[in-house]
C-alpha cells in the first residue's frame, strides 16, 4: 500500500539566505574570532525554535507521557505523538506505527541487528556492508555475525569514493541475510546509489537497511519511494536535539521482530507467569522516552518545513562547488572523495601537513572542522591515509564561511611548512 506524500513539508517559502540568523550559536565567537562552523556532519546546530520548544516544554508542559489522566500529561503526550506524526510525514512512512524513537542512528542499527538479526539470521549467511560505512553501521553487524557465525562482505569503492555496486550481482543470493549501507557518506560526502542497491536486493528478497544519518539534514527522504526495509537517522544531525533518533521499518517486519529491550511502555500485561507485549511502535520503546528530545525533533521538522527543499539542494550544491573551486587553488591540495554525486561535505589533505596540525591552526582562527578518521577507519585504511580534514556544510553556511576556511588553510600551510 503506497500512501501519497503529504507534501506539506519542505515546501515552504522562506529564503535559505536568511536561515543563518535562526541559529544563535552562529553569532558567537570561538577563540576571539566569529565562529565558522563547518562540522555539521558530526552534529548540526539548532535553530532558535527548537531551543525554545525544549525550553518551553520544561517550563510549562513537562510530565511523563502515556497513561497520565491529568491535562499536563495529556498535553505532553499529544506533543510527543505529534512528533511521531511529523516524522512519518517527513519520510512519508505509511504508518505512525513504523516510527520508533531511539537514541540515534547507532541505537537503531543495533536494534535491527539484535532483534531482526538475532531472530532471522542463520549460521553461514552473509551480511553485505560497504567500504564507506561509519563504525556504527559496521560494529553492530560484526557483533551479531560473530554470535551467529556469519560472514561480512564489503562493497568496494573506487578512488573517487564511489561504491562499486556491480559486485552485488555476484554476491547477492538467498544466502544474503541483509544489506546495510549509508545513504550519504559522512567521511566523503558521497551520495550512494541506494535505489539501485535496494532494487538489486529486492530480486533476492534480501532486506536492506539504509543508514540515513547524513541524509536527513539535506532534505526529506521518501522511504516508500526508496523501497527500503529499514531507514535510520539521528535527530542531532538534522537540527534537532541530542539523544533522539528514529528507526523506521516496514510494519510487516517490525511485527515479526521480537522485542529488544523490556520494561515500562513496551508491555501490554505483565505477570511473572506470562508477559504480553504492546503493539507497534511501543513494543520497541521500553522505558520513559526522551520526551523533550522528540518534541525538539518535531520542531526541527516543522522548521525545515518553512523552506523549500529544492532551494536548499541548489543552495548547498552552489556552496559545495564554490568550496571545491576555492580550495583547489591552494597548492598541494588533495581532495579526498570526488564522487560525481556529493552532499556538501569536503574532505581533504594538504601535502606534507598532518590533519591534526591544520585543525589546530584553524581552531585558533575560529574555524571548526573535523580532523581524523571520522569513525570510518576501514575507509581510511583502504585509502591509505590516517585521516582527513573535513569541512561539512549545512544550509546555514555561506560563502564567507568558505572564504574564511580557505584563508585559514592557506595560513596553516604557511605556518606549518
Amino acid at each position: 500500500m503506497k500512501v501519497k506524500q503529504e507534501s506539506i513539508l519542505m515546501k515552504g517559502t522562506r529564503s535559505v539566505e536568511r536561515a543563518r540568523e535562526d541559529f544563535p550559536i552562529l553569532s558567537t565567537e570561538m577563540n576571539g574570532r566569529p565562529l565558522v562552523f563547518l562540522d555539521s556532519a558530526a552534529s548540526s546546530q539548532k535553530p532558535i525554535s527548537v531551543i525554545q520548544a525544549i525550553n518551553y516544554y520544561y517550563r510549562e508542559q513537562n510530565a511523563n507521557v502515556h497513561r497520565g489522566v491529568y491535562a499536563l500529561s495529556q498535553k505532553a503526550t499529544d506533543l510527543f505523538e505529534m512528533g511521531r506524526r511529523r516524522v512519518r510525514d517527513f519520510i512519508n512512512a505509511p504508518s505512525e506505527k513504523e516510527i520508533i524513537f531511539v537514541r540515534g542512528a547507532t541505537e537503531a542499527i543495533n536494534l535491527v541487528a539484535q532483534s531482526y538479526g538475532g531472530h532471522f539470521f542463520r549460521e553461514g549467511q552473509e551480511i553485505i556492508l560497504s567500504q564507506l560505512e561509519h563504525h556504527s553501521n559496521i560494529v553492530p553487524w560484526q557483533l551479531i555475525a560473530e554470535k551467529k557465525g556469519m560472514q561480512i562482505r564489503v562493497i568496494p569503492v573506487n578512488k573517487k569514493g564511489e561504491l562499486q555496486i556491480e559486485i552485488l550481482e555476484e554476491w547477492l543470493s538467498e544466502n544474503t541475510a541483509i544489506v546495510a549501507v549509508n545513504h550519504i557518506s559522512n567521511a566523503l560526502g558521497t551520495i550512494n546509489p541506494v535505489r539501485e542497491i535496494i532494487a538489486k536486493a529486492r530480486n533476492f528478497d534480501v532486506p536492506v537497511l539504509i543508514d540515513g544519518a547524513q541524509a536527513m539534514a539535506h532534505g526529506p527522504v521518501d522511504v516508500q519511494e526508496l523501497g527500503a526495509d529499514f531507514y535510520v537517522f539521528s535527530g542531532h544531525k538534522m537540527f534537532g536535539p541530542t539523544g533522539v533518533g528514529v528507526l523506521w521499518g516496514r510494519e510487516e517486519l517490525l511485527e515479526k521482530m521480537p522485542p529488544w529491550q523490556g520494561g515500562g511502555e513496551m508491555i501490554h500485561t505483565v505477570s511473572f507467569e506470562k508477559t504480553t507485549y504492546n503493539e507497534l511502535p511501543f513494543k520497541f520503546e521500553a522505558g520513559t522516552p526522551n520526551i523533550a528530545g522528540v518534541i525538539g525533533l518535531s520542531e526541527a521538522i516543522a522548521y525545515l518545513g518553512e523552506f523549500n527543499f529544492e532551494e536548499i539542494a541548489v543552495y548547498e550544491k552552489g556552496l559545495l562547488d564554490y568550496c571545491v573551486k576555492k580550495l583547489t587553488q591552494i597548492p598541494g591540495m588533495q581532495l579526498v572523495g570526488t564522487a560525481k554525486s556529493k552532499a556538501s561535505v569536503v574532505s581533504f589533505l594538504v601535502d606534507g601537513l598532518h590533519p591534526y596540525d591544520v585543525g589546530i591552526i584553524l581552531d585558533k582562527m575560529g574555524i571548526a572542522v573535523r580532523t581524523g578518521h571520522h569513525c570510518t577507519q576501514p575507509l581510511m585504511e583502504y585509502l591509505g591515509i590516517p585521516g582527513t580534514i573535513r569541512a561539512s556544510m549545512a544550509f546555514y553556511n555561506n560563502r564567507e564561511d568558505v572564504d574564511r576556511l580557505v584563508e585559514g588553510v592557506a595560513k596553516a600551510q604557511m605556518m606549518l611548512s
Binding site: 507521557v65 502515556h66 497513561r67 497520565g68 489522566v69 491535562a71 500529561s73 495529556q74 503526550t77 499529544d78 505523538e81 501490554h268 503493539e279
Partner: protein
C-alpha cells in the same frame, strides 16, 4: 427514530446549560450511575475492550440494517460518556454508524476523554462500534 445528528444536537443543547465543569461532570456521573447498561453475564472477556485504566464491555445486536449496542464500564465517568455514545449510535443504520461524525464530543468539551492517552477504552470502543457498523463482527485486536 431521530437521526444521529438530531440526537447530537440535543446533547449539545443539554450541555450548554451547564456553567462549569462540576455541573457537567455531575450530570455525566449521574448518567453513568443510573443506567444499567449491560447484564452482568456480558461482563466477560469476550465483550471486554481493554483500556489500561478502566475497562469497557461492549455488545452489539444487529437487527436488519440497524445495530443496537449495550456497553458498560467499571469507571463511572467512562460509563456516563458511554451512555451518551449509546444514545447517539444505538439503533441507527449500520452505514450511518460507520460514517458518523461524532462532533458532539468535542462540542460538549469531552474530547480529552477520547485521547488514546486516557487509556479508558472509549476510543477503542468507538472504533469497535464503527466496525460493527460496517458489519465486522469480530473483536478488534486489543490495544
Amino acid at each position: 427514530m431521530k437521526s444521529i445528528n438530531q440526537i447530537q444536537e440535543e446533547i449539545v443543547d443539554d450541555f450548554s446549560l451547564f456553567d462549569d465543569w462540576m455541573q457537567k461532570y455531575e450530570y455525566i456521573i449521574d448518567l453513568g450511575k443510573k443506567l444499567p447498561l449491560i447484564e452482568e453475564d456480558f461482563k466477560t472477556d469476550e465483550y471486554l475492550i481493554k483500556g489500561c485504566q478502566s475497562k469497557v464491555w461492549l455488545k452489539a445486536y444487529p437487527e436488519g440494517d440497524r445495530v443496537y449496542f449495550k456497553a458498560d464500564s467499571d469507571a463511572v465517568i467512562t460509563k456516563g460518556i458511554i451512555a451518551l455514545l449509546i444514545s447517539v449510535l444505538s439503533g441507527q443504520k449500520s452505514e450511518d454508524i460507520a460514517n458518523a461524525d461524532l462532533y458532539f464530543i468535542e462540542k460538549i468539551g469531552l474530547m480529552e476523554h477520547l485521547s488514546p492517552t486516557r487509556s479508558n477504552g472509549l476510543n477503542s470502543m468507538i472504533r469497535q462500534m464503527r466496525y460493527y457498523g460496517v458489519g465486522i463482527q469480530t473483536k478488534e485486536k486489543e490495544v
